[in-house]
C-alpha cells in the first residue's frame, strides 16, 4: 500500500514531463515493434495539437499498414481506396479551402497504384500536405516488392532479389514531384533516431505552416523501416536502412522556398 501511495505522490501535475498528446486517442497501436508509423503518427498529432488545427483538419487514410490511422488520431478522417487519397484531398480542399487537409500514404499506395493521382495532384499544385512513408515494401499484405524496393532487395515477390532488368528500377517519387511547378515544399526525412525525429517534426511543422499560404502541394517523405518483412530486428533494420536506403534515398530538402530565395540572393 505504501508503494502505491508513493506512485500517487509522483503522478502530480507539477511532476508531469511527458504525456500522450491530446490529438492521439488511447487506442493501442497495431504496429510491429520498431516500426516508424507510430512515431510519425505521434509527430503529426503533436503538430495538429500545437498549431491548434484539430477542428480544421481532415485527414485521408490510405490502404496499407496505416489503414487504421483514423483510429489513432482524434480528427475527422476519410478512408480512401488504395492510391486514391490525393483525389479525395483535392476535392475536400477545393470545397473547403479554409481547412487543413493531409494525406498519409505508403509506398505501394502512393508510388504504385496511386502514381497518377499523386503526380496530377502535385502538378495542379493542390494545397494539401502529402506524408509519404517509404519502407521499400508492402507491409500489410506480407512483404511483397514495392515500387521503391531497392535493386537486389529480397521480398516475397522478388525472392531472389529485385532484378531491375525484369522488375524495373525503384521509383523516386519525391524527386519526381520536386520537379513539378505545383509543389511548394518537398523534403525527405527519417524517424530512426531522436535527432531525426526532431528534424522530421520540424519539416512537418514547416509544411503545415506553408499550407496556410496556399502556394502549392507540400510533400514530406519519411524513409522508414519494416523489421517484420525485412526479417530483421528493429536495430538491424535501422542499421540496414542507414546503409542501404539512405544512399539511394538521401535525406534532406529537395525543394524549400526559403532556401530558394536565399540562394537567389
Amino acid at each position: 500500500m505504501a508503494e502505491v501511495t508513493g506512485i500517487k505522490e509522483i503522478i502530480k501535475p507539477e511532476n508531469l514531463v511527458y504525456k500522450r498528446t491530446s490529438v492521439m486517442t488511447d487506442e493501442t497501436l497495431h504496429y510491429c515493434p520498431g516500426c516508424g508509423h507510430g512515431t510519425v503518427h505521434r509527430i503529426l498529432a503533436e503538430i495538429i495539437d500545437e498549431e491548434g488545427l484539430q477542428s480544421e483538419t481532415i485527414g485521408i487514410t490510405p490502404v496499407g499498414c496505416s489503414v487504421f490511422l483514423y483510429h489513432y488520431l482524434d480528427i475527422d478522417s476519410q478512408e480512401a481506396a488504395h492510391g486514391r487519397a490525393p483525389a479525395l484531398a483535392t476535392a475536400i480542399k477545393r470545397l473547403m479551402p479554409e481547412k487543413f487537409v493531409f494525406t498519409y500514404q505508403g509506398d505501394g499506395d502512393l508510388a504504385a497504384i496511386g502514381t497518377s493521382e499523386t503526380i496530377h495532384a502535385c502538378n495542379r499544385g493542390e494545397n494539401f500536405l502529402i506524408i509519404f512513408i517509404n519502407n521499400g515494401i508492402y507491409g500489410m499484405t506480407g512483404g511483397q516488392m514495392a515500387p521503391t524496393t531497392l535493386p537486389g532487395m529480397k521480398s516475397s515477390t522478388s525472392p531472389f532479389g529485385r532484378d531491375v532488368k525484369t522488375m524495373g528500377n525503384p521509383l523516386k517519387m519525391t524527386d519526381i514531384v520536386a520537379t513539378l511547378p505545383g509543389t511548394y515544399y518537398v523534403t525527405r526525412q527519417s524517424v530512426h533516431t531522436p535527432a531525426n525525429v526532431r528534424k522530421t517534426k520540424k519539416a512537418i511543422r514547416k509544411a503545415v505552416q506553408y499550407q496556410k499560404l496556399n502556394k502549392g502541394t507540400c510533400f514530406v517523405e519519411v524513409v522508414s523501416n519494416c523489421p517484420s518483412n525485412w526479417k530483421m530486428t528493429p536495430v538491424q533494420a535501422n542499421k540496414w536502412m542507414e546503409e542501404n536506403m539512405f544512399p539511394f534515398y538521401p535525406l534532406g530538402d529537395l525543394k524549400d522556398p526559403e532556401k530558394q530565395s536565399t540562394e537567389q540572393k
Binding site: I60, I75, D76, S77, Q78, R84, L88, L95
Partner: protein, 356 residues
Amino acid sequence: MERELRLMKGNEAVAEAAIRAGADGYFGYPITPQSEILEYLMGANPMETTGMVVLQAESEVAAINMVYGGAGCGKKVMTSSSSPGISLKQEGITYIAGSELPCLIVNVVRGGPGLGTIQPAQSDYFQAVKGGGHGDYHLIVLAPASVQEMADFVDLGFELAFKYRNPVMMLSDGAIGQMMEKVWLSPQKERSKTVPEWATTGKPPTRERNIITSLELNPDNQEKFNQKLVEKYNRIRENEVRFEEFQCSDADYLLVAYGTSARICQKSVQLARGEGLKVGLLRPITLFPFPSKRLSELAEKVSLMISVEMSAGQMVEDVLLSVNGKVPVYHYGRMGGIVPTPDEVVAFLKSKIIGG
C-alpha cells in the same frame, strides 16, 4: 425568380440544372457522348456565381474519388461519364455506397462491350441496377426519357441521394444526351449551408470525430452493416418506385421500355392502336427500385409483355421476375448504337400475337 424556357441538349441541361440545383462540385473527365457536360460547366464558370467547384480530373478513377471525398464532407457533388468511363468509376462507386454517402453519377450510355461505339445504347442496365462494383449494394437508378427529365432528375437525384445517404445514378443514353429539346429550367437554388452531422469538416470540441470508411474487419459487425443496407434498399423499394403508364387501362398487350426506347414505343403504341391492337406502355422511371408490383398487377390484365431495349436483353430479366410466369414475356432489342424504329416494334409484337 421564374422558371426559364431554353432549347438545349440533354447534356447541357444536366450541366445547367446542376448549377441551378445549388451543386457544390462537379468532377469529370472527357468522354463521348457526354463531354458537353464538362465543357458547359467550364464555360459557365459557376465558381464566380454560386461558388460551385468544377474540375477536370486526370481520369475517371480520380474524378469519382474526388466525388467520394467531397461527398464525405456532406457536399452536393456529382460526376458524369459514358459507359467505358463508368466502368472505371465502379471502384469509387462501391466505396461511396459502402460508406453511405450521397452523390449523383450521370451515365450517358454508349454501346459496348469494350470501347464499343459512341452511339446510344442501353447495355449498361445490369451494371447500373445490379451492382457494377463489388459487394452487396444498390444505386438508386433514374432513367430520363427527355431533355426535360435530364434536367429535372439532377434535383431529384440529389434529393434522393441525401434522403437515403446513397449514390444515385442517372442512366441516360447518347440519344437523349445529344438531342435538343425545349426544357424548363428551375430557378437558381442557393447552395446549402447545412452541414450533415456525419460530415468530415474538422472535429470541433463539441462532438466526437467523424470517420468516413467502408472498412470493418469484424465479420459480425460487417454483417450487421450489410443488413442495415438491405433494410435501406427495402425502404427505397417501398417508397421510391416511379413509373409512367401510357394507354394501359384497356391494354391487351404491354410494352415495357425506358429512356429512348420508351419514346420509340410511345409511337409504336399509337401505330398499333391505329391497326386495332390494344397496346399499352409502361415506362419505368426508376430502374432501381423497379416497378415490379405494378407489372405484376398488369400481368393479370394483358396477354403478353415485350421488353424493348437497346441491348441484348437486360431489363427483360426484371420484367420476367416481376410477372413470375403469369404471362409470356419477350425481349425485342437492337444493339451496336442502333435505335429501333416504331414499325419494327409493332412488327415484332404482331409476330408474337400470331405466334401465341
